[in-house]
Symmetry: C2
Subunit: 103 residues, 2 copies
């Protein structure tokens, strides 16, 4: 999507990612604290799965996968823009069927 | 990786994901609270980028992308198992080059 792929310190994404990398350890601590609140639910669920399905279940891997999925779904808190909203020259695309006519 | 793809309530991944879906709204609230702690840093960085690069920068999109990247990197808190560790019959694969010989 970017017009040039040269990495430079004035590249907006690079600048923001430098900050992201600096903050990541603090974020990770805070995010782990959040997950600890829910740990018991995942532990219980994984134990239930193990009881129902069998002893070859690796509960720690099930829990980690669930945690990764939580983070993946949390990205929806920060949705990518489908349509550019800024700028007066940009018309907002509506998802109206083409054959619909209000005239 | 799974031997059958039929979705059932005894499927370990499905069971865990049902719990994940139930907890997701609470997780999202807690994760948003974490991000609010760092909001000012991202705001500041995005403003700097806009000053340096130009007014066609959409700061809100830069910030959202950075937040999604935080979540992506946080997944490393819950790493996927490269090698099965459980079970005595599993030998741990070492990443030793094939031509390396200690004999």
């Amino acid at each position: 999507r970017r017009s040039h792929m040269t990495v430079s310190y004035t590249d907006p994404q690079v600048s923001m990612d430098l900050l992201r990398a600096v903050l990541q350890p603090s974020f990770n601590d805070d995010i782990m604290a959040v997950f600890r609140k829910y740990q018991k639910f995942f532990d219980k669920a994984a134990e239930n799965v193990k009881e129902n399905v069998g002893d070859d279940i690796q509960t720690d891997q099930l829990i980690k996968e669930a945690c990764r999925n939580v983070l993946e779904h949390a990205k929806q808190l920060f949705p990518e823009a489908e349509v550019k909203r800024a700028g007066p020259e940009v018309t907002i695309k509506r998802s109206r069927p083409a054959d619909e006519d209000y005239s």
